[in-house]
């Protein structure tokens, strides 16, 4: 037996959507503002974080991985930026519904705004760091405008992917609190299962399909192609990966919508 719930407000349908947009937008601005209110270096942290990771990982790994790229640091950075976006978003979103219980218990509002605001604030960070990276690339001097046209698509793609995983993980975490521990355990392992510090051609050919099961593989390759013009290992598997990402996004959305009606009961 399902419950039917109808709330009539003096709003037209388009007003409802406008409210939704306003709401998600305001929450995103809040998310960005609240994070940097007291940090002395403020927005510098957006770029400092991937830079430090690049320096440490780059310094260590260039000695043991026979990666054939022109500049290992540029190669690393172009993979680290999307990875940091994805892992930060997922790690922060998973416990978010539980953390925001005081908001959930206060009123009826579109619950997905809590998650989307985190995703979009991280998209903002990703765009800032991509812009700075682009300036560096201009100096290094290998920018193809044609490839660069793919960059917005790659950003949208990874945003869909991160939203899908985040919505799914946070909805499940409201019901099963150990989902957060699971995500915390998996994210560092996932880093090594994704070609970020290495390229796929170091892996035996017959294992490539296995790597493409990881939806992050293709999207990282898309970023590398757009930024550095690096060839794609298996283009046909890309399409599968794009489709899988879309499917995941839909799945996350559906599960979240179904569960969000009962968040109040579980948090």
């Amino acid at each position: 037996m399902a419950a039917t719930v109808e709330f009539y407000q003096t709003m037209k349908l388009s007003d409802k959507q406008l409210f939704w947009l306003e709401f998600v937008w305001a929450m995103t601005i809040k998310e960005i503002k609240a994070r940097y209110k007291h940090a002395i270096l403020g927005f510098l942290w957006i770029i400092l974080n991937p830079l430090l990771q690049m320096l440490v990982i780059g310094f260590v790994f260039q000695f043991f991985l026979p990666v054939h790229v022109d500049n290992y640091f540029l190669f690393l950075f172009s993979g680290l930026l999307p990875w940091i976006f994805f892992s930060f978003t997922l790690s922060k979103c998973t416990p978010a519904i539980v953390y925001e219980r005081s908001l959930i218990k206060k009123a009826r509002f579109p619950r997905e705004a809590i998650i989307l605001s985190i995703v979009f604030s991280n998209v903002f960070h990703l765009l800032v760091s991509l812009a700075l990276f682009f300036v560096v690339l201009l100096f290094v001097g290998k920018v193809s405008l044609l490839q660069l046209a793919l960059l917005p698509i790659a950003v949208v793609w990874i945003t869909l992917l991160a939203s899908g995983f985040s919505l799914l993980a946070t909805a499940l975490n409201a019901r099963f609190r150990d989902v957060n521990f699971f995500v915390q355990a998996v994210v560092p392992l996932w880093f090594y299962a994704t070609p970020i510090v290495y390229t796929l051609d170091l892996i035996p050919q017959n294992l490539h399909a296995l790597f493409y099961l990881n939806p992050m593989t293709a999207v990282i390759e898309a970023f590398r192609f757009a930024l550095l013009g690096m060839p794609v290992t298996q283009a046909s598997l890309w399409l599968v990966s794009v489709a899988a990402s879309l499917l995941l996004c839909v799945l996350g959305w559906v599960v979240f919508q179904r569960e969000s009606r009962y968040f109040d009961d579980w948090v």
């Binding site: 037996m1 399902a2 419950a3 039917t4 719930v5 109808e6 709330f7 009539y8 407000q9 003096t10 007003d15 406008l18 409210f19 306003e22 709401f23 305001a26 929450m27 809040k30 503002k33 609240a34 209110k37 007291h38 005081s102 908001l103 959930i104 218990k105 206060k106 009123a107 009826r108 509002f109 499940l172 019901r175 099963f176 609190r177 150990d178 989902v179 699971f182 009606r261 009962y262 109040d264 009961d265 579980w266």
Partner: protein, 226 residues
């Protein structure tokens, strides 16, 4: 006589909660599958409230009052039954909930207003009134963690009453801040009664409820008994 318009219509509302003794986890779910204790908070409740009515709900602790209000406010969804609510519901319970301590008073007014369903333009229109009513003065630009408990309550109350609610949810113990503000907020609530807003009021105090509301319901163990 004008035909009475329905504000809230609840039909056969049943709400069942899964009782957790510990934090709910997946591992636990797998290990002990069959063991699921449930708690029946609302048992087949039907209730129609018309526009302009003020309905008092009394009942002992654990009778399902809060659950009923949550269903009306759309915060939770019943296990079965149908809910129909027409108009904006604003609750004056948990007033400081949903504020962000890092943001300023101004930023929080906007955020809180949106959370309870106001449009940005609406908030802009009543912003000055909200600030004046809450009487937080220079603190409007300060982050919320610098506010006293009373100031937060006042701000929450002020945003809620300026949201132009069609349906108001009240708690008897709902008085905020010091003597002066208590008077002011009491007056504002009285005004809502005089404006013939739809009001749902919960309380333990029979006398108080019957004196202010047009109809009183008794809720015991998830059942409405009149």
């Amino acid at each position: 006589m004008k035909k009475k318009q329905i504000a809230i219509e609840l039909k056969n509302i049943t709400k069942r909660y899964v009782l957790h003794h510990e934090k709910p986890t997946f591992s636990e779910q797998v290990i002990r599958r069959s063991k699921r204790e449930e708690f029946l908070a609302l048992d087949d409740v039907s209730l129609t409230i018309y526009k302009g009515e003020s309905v008092g709900i009394i009942g002992p602790n654990g009778a399902g009052k809060t659950t009923l209000l949550k269903v009306i406010a759309g915060i939770t969804t019943p296990t079965s039954g149908s809910v129909l609510v027409q108009g904006r519901v604003v609750s004056l319970i948990d007033l400081e909930a949903g504020f962000n301590p890092e943001l300023t008073g101004e930023e929080n007014i906007y955020l809180n207003g949106l959370v309870i369903g106001m449009r940005r333009k609406e908030i802009e229109r009543v912003f000055k009134k909200i600030v004046a009513f809450a009487d937080i003065g220079k603190f409007i630009d300060a982050p919320l963690y610098t506010y006293s408990q009373g100031m937060k309550l006042r701000l929450g109350f002020s945003v809620a009453v300026h949201a132009n609610p069609d349906i108001l949810i009240l708690d008897e113990g709902m008085t905020a801040g010091d003597e002066g503000f208590r008077k002011k907020s009491g007056n504002r609530i009285r005004q809502f009664f005089e404006e013939k807003k739809t009001i749902v009021l919960v309380s333990h105090d029979m006398h108080f409820v019957t004196s202010v509301s047009t109809r009183t319901l008794m809720l015991t163990e998830g059942n409405v008994t009149y």
